[in-house]
């Protein structure tokens, strides 16, 4: 039912956007207008509601909910948790981002195997993934909270430095690094002005709106998906879901965004 309502809402939004695009002249103004409109008619809240249901549902072999999941602020504490991630977790001995931590909770609390918990992490327009619903819900509970990601623990600092090194590492058939697309201030790839994620300005503006709803594909996309698709376009092999490398990169961007107010989940083109 919720999905049907969502579809109708989206179709309406898409139509009005398409109509306004057709008559706009100046491209940059056009894009900004489009971004404002998509933000105003965003269906992100529907994902958050679905995620809230999932969070409270008794699931898995242990038939328990995620309500005791510790995302770093204590079991069950959601307010501000996302604005402090990634962080070091003693129980796993790892620096973890939101998605890897959700996998931890699904395995330790609910009794899923890791394979089961990560079987379908990226959904599609017809059927979003549980992870996308949960990520939207948890991230939404940090709306209005200042990004405050710590590098005090040596493992957090190491993850940040590794993320930075990964960001500038050039390889692959096209010699690309993350910075090839995200390292040129004021430059565009086609019509997209891509944020310079190594600078606080770029990271603050962008990191604080992920996860994000992509109007063009009617899907909510998580940060793990964003990195996966960046590496695809970088012509690299595929990163493993919630791997240390992806968490390190997330750490780098999150720390660069520190001090900014989290305002996601956002809406994208």
């Amino acid at each position: 039912m919720r999905q049907v309502a969502c579809r109708a809402l989206l179709a309406g939004a898409a139509l009005s956007i398409a109509a306004s695009l057709a008559y706009a002249d100046d491209t940059k103004q056009e894009i900004q207008k489009y971004q404002r409109m998509t933000a105003e008619s965003s269906p992100v809240e529907l994902w958050e509601l679905e995620g809230a249901d999932l969070w409270k549902q008794k699931r898995g072999p242990n038939s328990v909910s995620l309500e005791r999941c510790d995302l770093g602020m204590g079991p069950g504490v959601l307010k501000g948790a996302y604005a402090h991630l990634p962080r070091y977790f003693k129980d796993t001995g790892r620096v973890q981002d939101l998605e890897s931590r959700l996998v931890t909770c699904m395995t330790t609390l609910q009794g899923f195997s890791e394979q089961e918990a990560t079987k379908r992490v990226f959904g599609n327009a017809d059927k979003p993934s549980d992870m996308e619903y949960l990520a939207a819900y948890v991230a939404g509970r940090s709306r209005g909270v200042k990004m405050q990601v710590s590098t005090k623990d040596p493992k957090e600092k190491a993850a940040y430095e590794m993320g930075k090194a990964l960001f500038f590492y050039r390889a692959g058939p096209w010699d690309f690094s993350c910075a090839s697309c995200h390292g040129h201030e004021g430059k565009r790839i086609r019509m997209q002005e891509l944020p310079v994620l190594s600078s606080p300005k770029g990271a603050r503006g962008t990191y604080t709106t992920w996860p994000g709803y992509r109007v063009s594909v009617s899907q909510l996309k998580t940060m793990q998906w964003r990195l996966n698709d960046c590496f695809r376009q970088q012509r690299f092999p595929e990163p493993k879901y919630a791997s240390d490398a992806t968490i390190a990169l997330t750490m780098y961007m999150a720390v660069n965004a520190n001090g900014a107010t989290y305002r996601g989940p956002g809406t994208k083109r």
Binding site: T27, P154, K157, A158, E161, M162, A165, L166, F168, Y169, R170, A171, G172, P173, W174, D175, F176, S177, S180, C181, H184, K187, R188, I189, R190, M191, F231, R232, Q233, R235, F236, P237, E238, P239, K240, S243, D244, A245, T246, A248
Partner: protein, 205 residues
């Protein structure tokens, strides 16, 4: 053990820790590579060997694309040596085909079918035809290239070589080495050269 020797020991330990911290704070490309091998897997045509850097990628990474290395000239010469110029001595193909190649951003990702025709992604970074509104600005505008530079054989050869291996003249250029990486064929590079230089091409209108 005297007090002094204990302090010396502690000092050495602290120095050792500081060194370890420094090492941790600044991962080398070898450490990055090791992590990539642990955390990535081959997918489609994107094999794991893609995360291994060649000398050029390594030098450009560690120098943040500003190599002051005394080997730069030599390495550019090595890159130049990878350029295979057409045996027939002709550098210009069909600008109409070239336009399609310039517009296409397809190719070389794990989703692309191996062996399918790749695009040049030219518009991602360059302005070419003034009629195309959607162009990137990471690279310089190439609009009216033929008008400005003419289409003499030396210019043709230069453009062909630049597309084949941009690193031959600018070691840490962001532009892919389209010929050297086997992204584009000789014929495709000829078509792109024509798209840039042919007086009839929209680039020069």
């Amino acid at each position: 053990m005297t007090k002094t020797s204990i302090y010396l020991c502690l000092g050495a330990l602290a120095a050792g820790l500081a060194a370890a911290q420094t090492a941790q704070a600044d991962p080398t490309p070898m450490e990055v590579r090791a992590l990539l091998h642990k955390d990535f897997h081959a997918q489609g045509q994107a094999t794991m060997s893609r995360v291994d850097q060649d000398d050029l990628q390594w030098l450009c990474t560690v120098s943040h694309n500003k190599p002051s290395h005394n080997r730069v000239k030599q390495m550019e010469a090595e890159q130049h040596a990878t350029i295979v110029y057409p045996a027939d001595g002709k550098y210009m193909g069909d600008w109409k085909k070239g336009q399609k190649i310039a517009e296409s951003g397809k190719g070389m990702t794990w989703k692309d079918k191996p062996g399918a025709e790749n695009g040049g992604s030219c518009y991602n970074c360059h302005q070419l035809s003034p009629k195309e509104a959607s162009y990137g600005t990471v690279g310089p505008s190439l609009t009216a290239m033929g008008k400005k530079r003419g289409d003499g054989i030396e210019v043709q050869k230069y453009i062909y070589g630049k597309i084949y291996n941009s690193k031959a003249s600018n070691l840490c250029s962001e532009m892919p080495r389209f010929g050297t990486s086997h992204t584009l064929t000789e014929e495709q590079i000829k078509d792109l050269t024509a798209y840039l230089l042919d007086p009839a091409s929209p680039v020069n209108q």
